[in-house]
Point group: C2
Chain length 194, copies 2
Amino acid sequence: MGKANTRNKILEHAGRIVRQKGFNNTGIQEILDSAGVPKGSFYFYFKSKDDLGLALIDHYGESLVLLRNSLLAKATGTPLERLRKLFVGMRLFFSQEEWRSGCPIGNLTQEMGALSDAFRSRLGAVFNIMQDAIRECLEQAVSCKELDAELDVDELAHFILDSWEGALLRMKAEGNTQPLMLFERVIFGRVLSR
Amino acid sequence: MGKANTRNKILEHAGRIVRQKGFNNTGIQEILDSAGVPKGSFYFYFKSKDDLGLALIDHYGESLVLLRNSLLAKATGTPLERLRKLFVGMRLFFSQEEWRSGCPIGNLTQEMGALSDAFRSRLGAVFNIMQDAIRECLEQAVSCKELDAELDVDELAHFILDSWEGALLRMKAEGNTQPLMLFERVIFGRVLSR
């Protein structure tokens, strides 16, 4: 197994366990046992557990870029139809048992945002990837007159992302994806209606 | 110090530390050291750390009922003006350094929602206290024609609470209360506008 593969393997197992149990609640040994990687290798790839946490955020950021490209940029339909497909696609991912894990970026923000400035700024950057993607879509919707030109698309993109994170949080309290469907109905039926 | 006082003292110190560090990351001994209560007393009031966590959720629920009563029921103005005062009042609480702590119910949901059904159902009940208060306010707004009668107030109350929780989460990523002000502008300027 090459170096990049071992590093990715550690990140994938860390991601799964951290999403289920939280970052503070997860031990390095547990991740290594799950990945089948010896402890010495861990410190070859990561300086510390915090270093792994920061790499995990970048890893999620890269996944989000791929998701944005496949669900938003390459999808067909009007800008708002494509935006809705993005949220439907993410909701389908969270169906089944995945509601338990929630949004990895939201989870880490809740847990680490107040404790570590390094985590906070890195998490903020990943939020911005999504917010920029939503804003671009809204700008296109304004250009093709699907949305009114007087709307503040920066503000709306920020609000939409925050509401989505709130719906993902509520999903964990309700134990189902109903809050995500409600989010779609209100955002596309009222907030983004003409 | 009476029994109720010692129990409340443990809950208040636990609440402050858990809001800063998370539930899993907080030890019983740390809470007792902070509260100045001997360990034997802890087990007189709580069966276990989980039992303390559940009592903490009830404690927050009771605080929310008081907050709802003072900011919503007793406030003057139209129903929507009173609802806005509730969110402004909560935002002012989170200003200054309090942005770091975030919403205790949101924090615990993110951390414990997937791990414990007992926590999840208790957290869901506290969300419902707030959602019912918002819904009642929206119903009054419909009654006095401040909102259109065709609006689904159940759905909107659910959406507003989820969006608020998302704004509180984003506050922790941005390190300021700007997401809470944005929430107010979009909810009252667009979602609840006629």
